[in-house]
Symmetry: C2
């Protein structure tokens, strides 16, 4: 029986969706320019006052992707300054995350199903095995922030659709 490797179940998913997110932000940037909208209005937009704005959604999506790949491989991910505000800066962050993700070789991540992963939470350290970490925490979190970024832009009238989110199948 064939099966899915931990690498296949993680890195290519992140790369694909971050590429789509990059294209979505480019469309939002073009929309702001065409309509004469200050782009910081969009990158600081929220769906509710105590939800995080678009810029943070991009920061957490990229952090989740690089952190997941690094944790599964047992290496330390790069730390970003978290100071991106414009679409160009946010897309630069996505681009450097893509370069980092592309640097992983399958053999670094394959076989990490039961590898211990340590998450630093506000409440202390949480220890999980690789597979439940990927499936119950990293992937749901990643898709959450990519989708919320999309939702914030749609809510603000940017003309994007499900095809932009899914990319080419």
């Amino acid at each position: 029986m064939s099966s899915v490797s931990m690498y296949q179940a993680s890195v290519p998913v992140f790369i694909r969706m971050l590429g789509n997110l990059h294209a979505i932000l480019s469309k939002a940037q073009a929309h702001a320019q065409a309509k004469g909208i200050d782009e910081l209005v969009l990158t600081s937009a929220r769906l509710y006052p105590d939800m995080l704005p678009l810029s943070n959604q991009i920061m957490i999506a990229t952090d989740t992707a690089k952190g997941c790949a690094a944790r599964l491989a047992g290496v330390t991910p790069p730390v970003y300054e978290d100071n991106e505000k414009t679409f160009a800066e946010l897309n630069e962050r996505i681009a450097k995350t893509l370069v980092y993700l592309q640097s992983f070789k399958p053999e670094q991540i394959d076989g990490s199903e039961a590898r211990e992963v340590v998450l630093k939470r506000r409440t202390g350290e949480e220890r999980l095995q690789g597979l439940p970490y990927l499936q119950n925490t990293a992937l749901p979190n990643f898709f959450f922030h990519v989708t919320t970024a999309y939702a914030i832009l749609r809510h603000n009238g940017v003309e994007i659709g499900k095809k932009d989110y899914l990319g080419n199948t």
Copy 2:
């Protein structure tokens, strides 16, 4: 080298997230009752006029989950009437989808990486292999609609948080 089976990569993820979504809808129902809000205001809420309302987000999330499990197993999924409007009806839809998902045995889905999956699109039939279908279409779509349901409720002031979305890790 161990690895992830197609069953593990699909059905338990759907079951877990649909359970979380069920609990989120129960919180939204309680919120509407406590605040004297007609719950149809919430189940018909949208983030933008040409986006689908909450009820449809639940319909598509459940359809994606049951359709994915069925396609990977090579069986025909149950068809629902798509007439749910209240929180109780939407949660009943989630509950029957959970029962359906729980009926799958791993051996029905394992080994479906290269199994041909046929998707009926408005533009015609699309044929994909099981693994790219799961990773590039089914999972992103599923998380999209679960997250959008969450976002609609958050946008309308329902007091839910990331913990409700992720569930217990």
